[in-house]
Symmetry: D2
Subunit: 423 residues, 4 copies
């Protein structure tokens, strides 16, 4: 295939230097669009045109304006930025290559709101492409975007017959972008969908043809509002939001298990109150519910909501429950797993072509997979192994750049095979 290893590395490092969190991928989208225009695609949808109306986990206007300004200052094309105002980031690129099936490839592009290691042991620091924004590509989405562009270019130069759509999805980390991209209409004619993730504790050289076991998830932010009171003189005036929160937390973890499969709950971040001598007026729980199936997740979250409401009632508080993000469960389809495994087995640098893996976590690629599967198509979630020194989401996470080429090769080979064989 035709994209050089050097170009992939160069592009990935450039993206790594400009990480942007969910719905703030202004510079990133603009940079991707530039590359797409350079490669030449048949159709290109940016921002508002790539997404349906219902986004989740969108930050406030000030926050978005700040990142938009930062993108501008970093040299992003103003015309492209204009198409993303209001945080409508992301893009869909379409390549038409004659008769054949419509194949989709989904890559996510957002970063995490955390600091990156400045340690000399950390390659991006040592080699000078460490984050310049305060955020960090600590989950490899810089590699994903690079692979997406690499595959597009490789397919352009190859023998694929059919239509290829590459989905550069925003806001995966808040489980907020998968839904609106799935409902954008661009998925409606996709017959085969490949989603891709690097790492996941698989080493460089291993490719996992079909990952399943995605837990459906709902993330929520609950705010309790009561009434303050002086803790010494007037405790009875207080309607205690921290007490309500504490009661809710206890009951969230005590939501019944489900006989049909695994469920998960977490009150991952909580807080409340202002001073030791004031009965707390406000408190919050930022948490999530998951399930092995979407039904189990729904059962679990329904009970979480009851726990939040019951606790508010007990302490005479109000509770506001905001859904921040959610994603269904999903499984990879055998027929498509076969194709990817075959493509992986023939690659000289692939030392292990694993058939199946389990995620045990959540991902909003499941929205896109489900959309395609519900319409009778096939989907698989492909893992491209990469040696990563630190764990996902940590300050020292990094990808082994050798895996970029493997990813591009295996995926474009699989896409050609799909065009040939319509599995």
């Amino acid at each position: 295939m035709s994209v050089s290893r050097e170009r992939l590395i160069e592009l990935r490092r450039e993206l790594h230097r400009h990480p942007e969190p969910a719905w703030r991928e202004f510079w990133t989208t603009a940079r991707i669009v530039e590359e797409l225009e350079r490669i030449g695609v048949d159709e290109l949808y940016v921002g508002r045109d790539a997404l349906a109306d219902e986004r989740l986990g969108v930050p406030d206007d000030d926050e978005m304006d700040e990142w938009l300004e930062r993108a501008r200052a970093a040299g992003a094309d103003p015309d492209i930025l204009e198409r993303m105002e209001g945080g409508w980031t992301g893009a869909v690129a379409v390549l038409e290559r004659g008769e054949g099936p419509t194949v989709g490839l989904r890559v996510d592009i957002d970063a995490l709101p955390r600091a990156e290691s400045a340690d000399d042991e950390h390659l991006p620091a040592r080699e000078g492409f460490r984050s310049e924004t305060g955020a960090m590509h600590a989950c490899g989405h810089d590699a994903h975007a690079t692979i997406g562009l690499g595959v597009l270019e490789a397919v352009t130069d190859g023998d694929f017959s059919g239509t290829l759509k590459v989905f550069f999805q925003p806001a995966e980390e808040v489980i907020g972008g998968g839904g609106p991209m799935a409902q954008s209409g661009h998925l409606d004619d996709v017959e085969y969908l490949l989603a891709v993730h690097v790492g996941l504790d698989y080493p460089t050289g291993e490719v996992v043809a079909g990952i399943g076991g995605f837990l459906a998830v709902t993330q929520f932010y609950a705010t309790f509002t009561g009434h303050p009171g002086h803790a010494g003189a007037r405790p009875e005036e207080g309607r205690n939001a921290v007490q309500a929160m504490a009661e809710a937390v206890q009951n969230i973890y005590a939501v019944p298990r489900h006989g049909d499969g695994a469920s998960r709950v977490n009150a991952g971040r909580v807080g409340g109150g202002t001073a030791t001598n004031i009965i707390p007026e406000e408190a919050f729980v930022h948490g999530e519910a998951r399930g092995e199936t979407t039904e189990i997740r729904d059962f679990t979250f329904d009970r979480v909501r009851k726990a939040l409401e019951g606790a508010a009632h007990t302490h005479d508080c109000e509770v506001d429950v905001e859904i921040e993000g959610n994603a269904p469960s999903a499984e990879s389809d055998e027929e498509l797993v076969d194709v990817v495994q075959d493509a992986a087995q023939t690659h000289p640098d692939v030392t292990r072509a694993t058939r199946r893996g389990e995620l045990g976590g959540s991902e909003d690629a499941t929205f896109l997979m489900q959309r395609v599967q519900d319409a009778g198509g096939l989907a698989t979630y492909v893992g491209i192994g990469t040696d990563h020194p630190g764990g996902h989401h940590t300050a020292t996470f990094d990808v082994d750049e050798d895996s970029l080429e493997i990813g591009v090769d295996v995926l474009s080979e699989a896409i050609e095979a799909i065009g040939r064989d319509r599995p």
Copy 2:
């Protein structure tokens, strides 16, 4: 005065042998009525005629029939029993002695549903007047009834001018009889009310002229109803009543303190569930809320109720909250305390005439006190010290029979003084 020490002891022992719990004082009321008829009173109201409609803590029909039958078997007068059908126990006796104020004396007559000690150290066991019913006079109401009759007889034979009403109140232990007796109409013309209690950790020879610090109280019985489920196979089918109860208990004790004074909460008896492998379908809390004032009690119980409701909501259960009994707070009036203290000080066997005491507990005599005070009258709650080997409500509680005469003398002396001086 005219009632012999021996008669008082004999009568008290007879009553002690036939203890009957709340709303089951059939034999006791009948025996009191017999005495009243022997003494001769001007008016006599029994059962339904002595009480307003709203009783609390009434047992079910089977339970009442059983005790009615038992009373019949023990020789109670069938004609009197007939007037108490349905658990309308208790009586009001009126003595008219010419011009003068209307004075009330309230004594309670019910026993506790607990076994009495059979130990030889325990006087009723040794002397052969231990309970024959399974219940026990473990709070001295046998002495109260005896004192009530003794005072009536003493006043009959004495120089009192005015009207004396003696209230033989049922169901104090469930805080259920004070309310309906207070609303019966018989209190409406009472200008001075004396209530009496023996013991309370005051020794024989001490009389406390005015006890205050009654905590207002509400007793409740809450039943949670959920849905069972097999704990191994189908935990999600359960709507867990025990979990709801546990959450409620935690929050009942965590009801805010009140800046205006003391409050109390207790989940004194709880239970639920049927087997280790069944998600519990039912559970209950039998508890109470108290307050230094009626307002504090109301605040506290309102929050208890919210805790019960909130917990039910959390676990998708129903909760039914039944009010079993309640009583307001009360204080004794200085002017009447003076009268009783004077009467006590002149008695040869009174070694200590204490002015004021604090109960720190609850009593439904407060309903009667409040009724009189609200109409502009005066009330006091008098403590007649008695050496008691075991604590109140324990299996070895007993009264020192020397205190019976002291009680009769001091109270009838005080009543005569009221007739004389209209304090």
Copy 3:
């Protein structure tokens, strides 16, 4: 085979009329021993000789004496009863039939401490073999014991070559008898073990050759001991056992889920306290922890124990945690499942020979299965379908007596096949 349908029904009805709960199976064991002696076995171990030392869930002496006496009164052989004193119930019968493998069959014999329906719709009531003891065979162990005897007799009369051991296990319902029988030594030379259960929602005519998915379980009884106090006057003197219990219950249900598989928790029966106005001195939780593997169960129960201890510490109480019963998880072995499925498929009344089923509950047959498997042998847990009008453990549970013959036939056929083929 040789046991008549009528005899099986007659025997089962006789056992159904005399249900005895765990460790109280005096009459039942004696009756089984009589049958064994009639059939003629080579070795017979009763009570103490059939069990290792460590029993769980043993009732107190009074309770056992009462049931022993009842068995005597119902005509059980006094000589046999003598061998069971102290609640050492159950038996192991050995049949030696020449060269060949040692095969075990495990049936359990105890009943449940619950009342049986007296409704005319309920066959045992209509046909006059309803329980005469107050307990009830509401889980079909009467059928199990009958099948155990039927198989023994059938094998005696058949072509089996090898050694057959039938384990009449006591105390399955409290998960208390499996452990001591597994450690009795009688399992040590068993190479193939069949365990059997009727019903489980499978209809008459269906046989499930291998049931798996047993959850490992630990049942516990925790007692909290604090200190009483008058709830009005001296709340600070109380060390509140009900509060501790409530805190423990909340945290038991909130024990973390496990990433390796399913776990379960239940506080199935709780209680505490004596009166609304006494701070509760005692409370209990009767509950259980389960896990898809023994390790998950251990993790879960360890956290349950911490919740009990932590709650006791918070409320300054003592907690005593007694393990009442426990069982490991287990799976059926493929090779043995094949044999049973083959035997089932050839039976004319078997309409469906299902290969695998999932229990989703717990069973202490797993102790015996594990013992055999750990020594290199094979085990399977066989389901014999039976139409049952009410669910297991309910008042209207009953077995379809047609399934008795199917059970005897399929199991004795499988045993002969094992003797022949040593799978």
Copy 4:
């Protein structure tokens, strides 16, 4: 008396402009020392010389250095600052005026870590003496320090015979300075102690001669440390600090009430966790326990501590409980109240000389009061009414400057009277 109203106002405004929180009163102490040197005192103890070793609520070194630097930049005398290094702020001034009793006056000098209103309605903003430090004198300690200096100057110029010690106490707001000042030795010969507070909802013109009802208090900061885990994949690896905190909060509020008097609890500020999908590793509770007596406070805090420990045990976490501040309860002595009331009654601007008030809150002046009372001396806590537009601790709190002169006059008059009459 001799200090002009204008000087008092000028000094108070200067102090108001430089508010410094607990243990950071560098500029404030230096300014006070300058004034003391100007007035001329016989002995002067600053910082380390004015305090015993055990301080509570001391901030970390960086924080102190920052405020020290700020004080230096604002023109504080470097020689005086040197004596306060390490946050040893505050001072004791001694005036020897011949034969007579030793009288103490305690004023506190620290500010609150909160922003001050910039609204034009707010006098300090309108008149240009609003806070320049980010902190705020929102509880009138600027007035207290001013009154302390004013009294010293007035007594210098008056007829007092005896010794006067003025205690400029740091760190009252964190209940951290009263203890070390009480144990400094400077209190040991004080026979009469006056403490003073402005406002407390008493209007200008009212003086309260003796405030009591101080609740003893302990403030604590508890940190729970567990272990993180991925909430989806590895929930069992988590030892959940937020769950522990929530359990602790529920039980802190559920600490038993006390029969001997009021108690208070509050978990005023809590927090924990980092992300929705991580089992929280850390959490904290910043709270307090109070009691009407020191014994009740001790009982209550002991139970709070047990709740913290029990919750940590349940969730397999560690808990570290740091005592941040504490103060005993106290009452004002009648004899000294008389003296102050007399002094107040004769002042022309005092419209109401109230004898007694109740605080219903906590104050670490009680350490000094208790020290004097324990040695046989007398103490009273004097309220100087002042119209304050906003409540204490709010952004718009301010003192009516008319009350400064009233405070100086009444207190110096009372001190002279003590010298005269040795009450």
